[in-house]
Symmetry: D2
């Protein structure tokens, strides 16, 4: 039985980790870390867990925690994990960091986009970017995982095969993304009040969202060259779900079948990436609550562009689900354990 | 492995049965019946099931179906199950009927409220009302289950202990219920369009909803005398969830502790009924996707009334979940198998 | 031109006052008071007002304000208006207080339910309860209006005729109310975040909501005797709208026509109360954005009870609209000026 | 007083026309045409109009109607207006057609994208494309207006100034649009049921939506050369609102101030187009219920692209509001009459 500790267990991503690990047959949660709710019963913070979890919230002492568990999940704001991690901790336990601290290899890029000084850049190189479908073998061997951001996960998986196979021009990529509000976290802000979000849709972080360099780095690996993109996230009045619609110019004329074959080459054997049938557009509701990413594409011969689409649950494959998938790989157990969740519709 | 067939597999309740049985370790679906989608792939009707279910939809031939499966679920409009069932079918297979055909013991009451002639009243007496927490032993021995309605399930479980213990006056019961729109089914009606339901709330079926006599019958068993209630359902702009708020006059002065003890007497050992802590009001979101019913109460000493509240997912405990719970009991397997679903929040 | 000042102009009720007064032909806003946004452009707080309002927010100095305007609206938390008002201010300007400070005539009841000491009880007697349809003549003569609460407005108007005509037993009244989230204000609280409210419904303030004594007082005037009720508000995932469903025992057998005639007696000439046609249930969407209250009823001969329903927009008739209606009456202009808003559907 | 007739008065766009014209001081509706509800009271189809409109629905006899009114609005499916219009009708009355019949000048393009044969192509040339801000003078002189589509209105107004001033490369334009569900009409379809749309977001009509050639034609006029774009609409779980996010490559390096000046050149004097302040992104909620289009832009120096954004209410500026604006221009009255609606927030 894998013993797990969660730092930041009362945010939405942390709560989703709790939901997933509670249903996991080979892991158990030993530490519900939450600076805001120390000593409060976890189930009083998330009443859905009433009579399911009896534990109380603890503080975020990673030092102490590392002596008690096999894996630590940090579902905390940027900078926290990086400021707490050290050699001793890493020698005793594995870490899956859901923040952005170790996702970007170039520390200057990280510091520029996030506006903070990285406290422990020496661990950046070691950290493995935990996009399981692409870095599976490295994940298995890792002790420190940088769990990918929600937008980068959905975007990279939707575009990766076509970049890798040189079908699209990397410098023409535009990503228009729509996210549910849980992505904004559980902090009490006017902008995230029901009345402000409901019956509304807007772009935010235009040309400045911090997931941009993370996406560009991953797409750059696929393309084999630096990639600059436009990335525009939008806030949608839904709880869960990310939909990305990406555009790129095709490098040559291709048929539906050729492109489909490319997607299948990379994903046919993947448990959690579903390449939909022709002309079926991904919908966030079809993956809600599950670890799936649904992808598809449409060629527009008029403009010689291709439209790539991807949908997933931002709290599952975009955060907690992928974190558990990484844990499974690191501990050598079945990759889908705890993640065989059927999407809930409606 | 229990072989199951579903008639009406493409309605919302049928689709939820598919979701639950797909995750059930001791049952498998052999027949996806859907008159509207014969020969279409099930996963093309419910794309959340893509790459999970490969089967096609079949017709609703209960005769043929009964030769192939151990249990048939009928998630169909009123009158269908009653018109198809016969001795031969019942000799070969068990039936869980999610319609109202066999819920009401007095056929005249059924025919009056539903406005149809009951085709096979001879089976009404045999049918067991599948409210597992109350009729568990009878369910175990049954071959024909009348799966309770969504409102009756939530209402009865919320009120039952107090009626049974004679704490409230049966003739003062008023039930004000709020339901998500999935309760209205997947039929294409203007009233259920997004734009008509969203940002809206209304009562419907006031003093005439067909679940009224079903609730009254069940409450009558608890009270040991006939009960007449007021029941007012409301349509709420949510997909899933029922919340009932019930009012009754107390027969004597009681303390919080006394009433709590009564609820605990009936539900402390129940897996799927959670009596919440003092002053915590049930919320539909806390049970979404799960088989739980959350109940609680508040005494109002000013008016000598008690307010009883219950929340559940109308598609799970209010339909498909309870149907699976009944199946589990009938086949002697663990009552919670396939139903150990953690509510999804947010 | 009536000069108006608003204290609390950046809350939701204040913002609705701004919307209504901006469209009012005989009033103009001279003071946008907002302690939180002093010196900020009003339109930067509410971008819907971009290029419509150029003013900046000012502080909440009622003393100074009273020298500049003819009427002051206080859309502020309990206690503020009562703590600022004095004889000099009232000698110079009229006040419409949207808080509860002057609604309840018995100061002990106010202090018990609100948990604060009333700073200026001497003005309670003078204040007129601004439910225009009932207290029209008194409003015309008033200089201090206690603008009714949202729930009390909807409830009182729905029940008043039947109590007044002695058709129902006052001691059997149960009010089950559902409100949109704007009623909870624009304060940044976790409970009002989109993800907590969306796809959810719950009761709150059960047997303890502070609108209870206000409703009871108004119903008591109608009944001619003290009235105790049960009142249960619920939070619904909509921005605007209140729906109340009220229950009472009929004192004698009555026909639909008799009850309809009673409603018509009180409301046939009312511009803003619409008694719907037989069997049509009020819906919040049908009054959204307007000053209407839609009411209707259903007799249940089985239980000898009557179900009374009312729907309105909590920010209009339940707050700002009624405040403007009161202003119109106080200044002797057309009662519906600025309020001839057609409900927006869908 | 302008006498107006509406054919298709019970669809969502027709109902919005009714709302707007009811509040219009120089027009009155004489004919509520609705094939589906002939002889039914209009207010029983749209209960928000109870006690506001007493008329009944009539058929869609344009011949007869043209003898009774000064202007006919056709808010009907493609092909209907074109099949009914003739010289006699046009000699007696003006027509504002809200369908696509006369929007596209090249009849072959129309027939290809809409898949129908145009019954009266002879009127295409005469028809004026009623985008008031761009074709104001032509509208004033017209007797047949092709009222623009919702997406084309929002898109064209957001991009027009930059194309006209040759700041962007026409062949790089990508338009990612999000629309509320009222755009799909009031027809009873499973895809538009509450449970299918709520908590969901999806693209549809990818690379094939029929508004594509309409947008291209209008952008082509601005660019002075043929334009091909990618246009991807998405369905969002809101009733009203369209948001477009458009991308294009800049032809040269420009500053924020330069681009702002270009937008201001075209829109500073426009009543209904609001160029927002720097870094403020348009939100659909800020224009809901009004005739405004809010536009803004963001330069991305990293990619040398510009992101252009526009938000409006699809039923107002995207349909009925623009139709009324056209009527006002055609009849020489104040352009904003009946349209001085303040956006409703929240």
């Amino acid at each position: 039985m894998i013993k797990a500790g969660i730092i930041g267990a009362t945010g939405y991503a942390g709560a989703e980790l709790v939901r997933l690990l509670t249903g996991h047959r080979e892991a158990e949660i030993k530490w519900y870390g939450s600076r805001s709710y120390i000593d409060k019963k976890y189930a009083s913070v998330y009443q859905n867990m009433f009579q399911i979890i009896e534990d109380k919230c603890l503080d975020d002492n990673m030092e102490e925690l590392s002596g008690q568990v096999d894996v630590i999940f940090t579902a905390t704001p940027q900078g926290l994990c990086a400021s707490l991690v050290n050699d001793e901790i890493l020698s005793r336990t594995k870490i899956v960091d859901l923040s952005a601290d170790f996702r970007i290899k170039d520390v200057e890029v990280y510091e520029k986009w996030y506006g903070i000084t990285h406290p422990t850049p020496r661990y950046i190189k070691e950290a493995v970017y935990g996009l399981c479908e692409i870095n599976r073998e490295a994940v298995k061997a890792a002790r420190l995982i940088a769990n990918p951001g929600c937008y980068p996960t959905c975007t990279t998986l939707s575009i990766y095969p076509l970049l890798k196979e040189r079908l699209i021009d990397p410098n023409t990529i535009i990503v228009d993304a729509k996210s549910g509000t849980s992505g904004a976290g559980r902090g009490a802000k006017v902008d995230n009040l029901f009345c402000e979000v409901n019956e509304n849709i807007k772009a935010y972080g235009v040309a400045s969202h911090r997931h941009t360099p993370e996406i560009e780095e991953q797409l750059g690996y696929a393309a084999g060259e630096p990639v600059l993109i436009n990335f525009t996230p939008h806030l949608a009045p839904i709880n869960r779900g990310i939909l990305i619609t990406a555009y790129a110019s095709l490098k040559k004329e291709v048929s539906y079948e050729e492109v489909k074959a490319v997607y299948d080459k990379y994903y046919a054997a993947e448990r959690f990436v579903r390449v939909l049938e022709k002309d079926v557009c991904p919908q966030t509701k079809w993956v809600e609550g599950s670890n799936y990413v649904d992808v598809n594409f449409k060629i527009d011969p008029r403009t010689s562009r291709i439209i790539m689409m991807g949908a997933m649950d931002n709290l599952v494959k975009g955060a907690a689900g992928q974190a558990v998938q990484n844990m499974n790989l690191m501990f050598g157990i079945k990759e889908s354990e705890g993640l065989e969740l059927i999407p809930m519709f409606p």
